[in-house]
C-alpha cells in the first residue's frame, strides 16, 4: 500500500465527497457515494492482521459507484488507514464491469476483489467479526484484491450456477524475497472458480463454491537463511499473503436461514471454508538441493462460523478456525499451527451502524510465540451515504 501524507489523503477524500452535491438523491441510476467508518480498540495483536494493538482505524472506506453508460458499470473504493502516525491511502477497488454482454457473460477489469472462496469478494465491513479468519490472513493477505481481469458466466438455469476465470498481477501474493534478487513473473496469479446455489424450502438458501488459484510466484526461494528474524518484523501491518504456494484450493459453503424467508427480525448464517496450499517448497537446484526433496506437509486452513441475528438490534457470532503452515528455516521446514475461537456480540442501531465487542482465544504452536492469548476488540463500523447492496 502506497503511503502518502495526510493532507493528500484528506484532499482526495474531499474530492470524492464533494461530488455528492450533484447526487443528492442517489437512485439506481445516479452515482452512489458512501463512506464506511471503522474504528477500534484492541488489547493486543492478532498475527497476520491489519489491525494493531491499541486504538486504530480499520477499513475507513470511500466508495463511488455508478452505471457509466448502458454498457459499463464502474466502482472506485479508496481505503484510508492510519498507522503509527502515518495516514495511508490505498485503492482497494477501481474497476469497470460490462453490463450488456449476451449469454450470461460479464467481464470485470481493473482492480477488484477476487471471486475465490466465499468471504473474499465481500467487503470486510460486512463481516460479523473484526478480522478475517486466520486462513484468509495467512493465505490471501486478509482479502485478495489485485489488478487484473475476470470473465464470469451465469447459466440460465433455476439452480444458480456461475463460473469464472481471473488473471492478476499477483504482487501481494508473491513469496518473500529477502535479497531482492528474484525475478518474478509479471502475470502472477490465475484463478478459476465455480459456484452453485439455491433455496431449501421457504426458509433457507445456500451457496457452495470451489476455487483454484495458481500462483506463479508462490514458491519460496531457497536461500532464506535468516528468515526467522526477518519474518517476525514483518508481522506489524501487512496486506500481503504471509504463506504462499504454487497451488491453492478452496472449498466454501454458506447457508442462511430466516423464518418464512423474512430477514427483518431474525436470521442465521452458517458458513465455512477450507484452504489447501501446495507446492511451496523451493524447486530443486535453486539453491539448497535437499529442500525440494524434503517431505513437507501441505499448508491448510479452515473455519466454521455461525452468526445469529437475534433481533434488528442485536446479533451474535461464534467462529472457530485454524491454520497449519510451514515456516522455512534455512534448509528445513518447521510446522506451525494457530487455532482461534471467537465470540462476537454486535449492537445495531440501524442497518447502517454497528458496535461490536469481540473476544478471541488464540492457541498457537510455534506461531509467532503465541501460546494461549486472549484478544478483546471493541469496534464500530458505520456507513454513511448511499451504500450499494451486499452480496449473499
Amino acid at each position: 500500500m502506497k503511503t502518502i501524507n495526510y493532507h493528500a489523503a484528506y484532499a482526495a477524500a474531499c474530492a470524492l465527497i464533494s461530488t455528492s452535491t450533484w447526487a443528492e438523491s442517489p437512485t439506481l441510476t445516479n452515482p452512489a457515494i458512501s463512506a464506511v467508518l471503522d474504528g477500534y480498540y484492541q488489547n493486543t495483536e492478532r498475527p497476520m492482521s491489519e489491525r494493531v494493538e491499541g486504538f486504530g482505524l480499520g477499513h475507513t472506506e470511500l466508495a463511488l459507484s455508478a452505471n457509466i453508460d448502458d454498457m459499463f458499470y464502474g466502482k472506485l473504493t479508496a481505503v484510508v488507514e492510519s498507522h503509527e502516525g502515518e495516514t495511508e491511502l490505498g485503492l482497494e477497488e477501481g474497476f469497470i464491469q460490462t453490463l450488456a454482454m449476451p449469454g450470461g457473460f460479464s467481464i470485470r477489469a481493473g482492480r477488484f476483489l477476487s471471486d475465490v472462496g466465499y468471504l473474499n469478494n465481500q467487503h470486510v465491513h460486512t463481516d460479523s467479526f473484526s478480522d478475517r479468519p486466520a486462513a484468509y490472513r495467512a493465505f490471501l493477505g486478509s482479502h485478495y484484491f489485485d489488478d487484473g481481469v475476470r470473465l464470469n458466466y451465469v447459466a440460465a438455469t433455476d439452480l444458480y450456477l456461475a463460473m469464472g476465470i481471473e488473471a492478476f498481477k499477483g504482487d501481494s501474493m508473491r513469496a518473500a524475497d529477502e535479497h531482492n534478487e528474484r525475478e518474478y513473473k509479471e502475470l502472477g496469479v490465475y484463478t478459476a472458480y465455480t459456484k452453485f446455489g439455491g433455496d431449501i424450502g421457504a426458509n433457507g438458501s445456500w451457496l457452495a463454491g470451489l476455487s483454484y488459484m495458481r500462483n506463479e510466484n508462490g514458491r519460496l526461494t531457497a536461500d532464506e537463511h535468516e528468515s526467522d528474524e526477518h519474518e517476525s518484523e514483518e508481522h506489524e501491518h501487512s496486506h500481503s499473503a504471509q504463506y504462499t504456494g504454487e497451488n491453492t484450493y478452496i472449498a466454501d459453503f454458506v447457508y442462511k436461514w430466516a423464518p418464512n424467508g423474512n430477514y427483518k427480525y431474525q436470521h442465521l448464517t452458517l458458513s465455512g471454508e477450507y484452504f489447501k496450499v501446495t507446492d511451496f517448497t523451493p524447486l530443486q537446484g535453486s539453491g539448497e538441493a535437499n529442500l525440494g526433496t524434503q517431505n513437507v506437509d501441505d499448508q491448510q486452513g479452515w473455519y466454521l462460523s455461525g452468526v445469529y441475528q437475534l433481533s434488528p438490534n442485536w446479533s451474535t457470532g461464534l467462529r472457530y478456525g485454524e491454520v497449519d503452515t510451514q515456516e522455512m528455516h534455512g534448509d528445513h521446514f518447521h510446522p506451525q499451527k494457530l487455532e482461534e475461537t471467537e465470540l462476537s456480540l454486535a449492537w445495531h442501531n440501524s442497518h447502517f451502524s454497528t458496535v461490536r465487542l469481540q473476544y478471541t482465544n488464540q492457541k498457537g504452536t510455534n506461531f509467532d510465540g503465541i501460546e494461549d492469548d486472549n484478544v478483546f476488540t471493541l469496534q464500530y463500523v458505520m456507513t454513511l451515504g448511499a451504500h450499494g447492496a451486499h452480496q449473499f
Binding site: 437512485t27 454482454m101 451465469v154 424467508g261 423474512n262 427483518k264
Partner: protein
C-alpha cells in the same frame, strides 16, 4: 348501415387471441413483490411468472440470494414497485445475473412508482430521518386508482417487449380494467364506515389504503422508518391512545406483532394483522380478494 362496433371489436379480439396464443410462448417475468406477480397474472396470463418475495417477507430486506440471481438471469421483464423500495437488493441481482434485458427501464425493467404520483415525496433526505424514500412511499398497491394507471403502463411495456401478442395484452387490460373499475365503488361503499377512523400502524405500509378510504394513521410503531419499535417510543404512543379516539393497531403480515401487542394490552386496543400482499392470508389469492380481505378485516374491528 349501422354496425355494432363493439361486437366487431370483440369478435376481432377473440379471433386474434385465438391466433396469437398459438404464436406466443409467453414472457418470462420476474416480479419483485407478490402484488406485481398478481398484476402480471391479470395482464399476461400466459407469462411464466416468478415472485421474488412473499407477503411474509419484508421487501426492504431481501437477500440477493442465488435462487433470485438464477431467476433474474432468465427473465425477459422485471416488474418492481420502485421508488427505491428494492434499492438494497435489486441492483445486486441485476449485476450478478448478467442479464442485459432487465437492467434498464428502457428495456425489460418496470417500476410501478414511475407511472403514478407517489405520496410523501421528500425534498431532502437524511439518514437521521430513518430509512426513508425520497421518491415517495413505494407501497402504492393499495391505491386502486394508481394500480389502474400501473396496469395501463405495464401493458404498454408488455407490448413493447412482445409486440406479436399486442391484441392479447390489450384484451387482458380491458378485462382487468373493467372488473377493477366495477370493484372500486363496491369497495368504497363497503369501507364508507371506516372513513375518519384513526389507527396506529407499523411503518407507512398502508399509507395508500388509509389515504384511499379516508382513515388516519395517528401513530407509527416505528420511531423512525426502518427502526424497530423501542420501549420509550411505545410509551409515547400509549400516551397518545389516552385520548380514546384510536380504533386499533395495525401491522402488516411480515411485521412483528410484539410492539403492537404490548401497546394493545396496555391501551386496551385490538391488534389487527392485515395481509401486506397476495398470499398474506388465506383469503388473499389475487388483487381483488386482497382488497376484499383487507377491508373485511378492518370492518370486523
Amino acid at each position: 348501415m349501422h354496425i355494432n362496433s363493439n361486437l366487431v371489436k370483440v369478435a376481432a379480439l377473440a379471433l386474434s387471441m385465438g391466433y396469437s396464443s398459438l404464436a406466443n410462448a409467453g414472457l418470462n417475468i420476474f416480479a419483485c413483490e407478490p402484488e406485481y406477480a398478481a398484476l402480471v397474472k391479470e395482464l399476461a396470463p400466459d407469462a411464466k411468472i416468478y415472485s421474488a418475495t412473499t407477503a411474509l417477507q419484508d421487501p426492504h430486506q431481501v437477500q440477493a440470494r442465488p435462487s433470485l440471481i438464477a431467476k433474474m438471469r432468465q427473465a425477459d421483464l422485471a416488474v418492481c414497485a420502485g421508488a427505491d423500495l428494492e434499492v438494497g437488493w435489486l441492483p445486486m441481482l441485476q449485476m450478478k445475473s448478467s442479464n442485459a434485458n432487465v437492467r434498464s427501464t428502457d428495456h425489460g425493467l418496470f417500476f410501478a412508482a414511475e407511472h403514478v404520483d407517489t405520496l410523501d415525496k421528500l425534498e431532502s433526505v437524511d439518514r437521521s430521518m430513518g430509512d426513508v424514500h425520497a421518491l415517495g412511499n413505494p407501497h402504492l398497491h393499495f391505491s386502486p386508482y394508481r394500480m389502474l394507471e400501473v396496469a395501463k403502463a405495464l401493458t404498454v411495456k408488455l407490448i413493447s417487449l412482445d409486440p406479436d401478442s399486442q391484441d392479447q395484452y390489450q384484451a387482458a387490460l380491458k378485462v382487468f380494467s373493467h372488473k377493477w373499475s366495477l370493484a372500486i365503488p363496491d369497495w368504497e361503499a363497503k369501507a364508507a364506515s371506516l372513513k375518519g377512523k384513526k389507527v396506529i400502524a407499523y411503518h407507512s405500509s398502508f399509507r395508500y389504503l388509509f389515504d384511499w378510504i379516508g382513515m388516519e394513521q395517528v401513530g407509527d410503531l416505528e420511531p423512525k422508518p426502518g427502526l424497530p419499535p423501542s420501549s420509550s417510543h411505545l410509551a409515547s404512543l400509549l400516551k397518545r391512545t389516552a385520548t380514546g379516539d384510536v380504533m386499533a393497531i395495525i401491522v402488516a403480515s411480515y411485521q412483528s406483532e410484539r410492539g403492537a401487542n404490548w401497546l394493545g394490552e396496555r391501551a386496551n386496543l385490538p391488534v389487527k394483522v392485515l395481509p401486506m400482499s397476495v398470499g398474506g392470508n388465506e383469503q388473499s389469492q389475487d388483487l381483488f380478494s386482497l382488497y376484499d380481505s383487507v377491508i373485511d378485516l378492518l370492518l370486523k374491528i
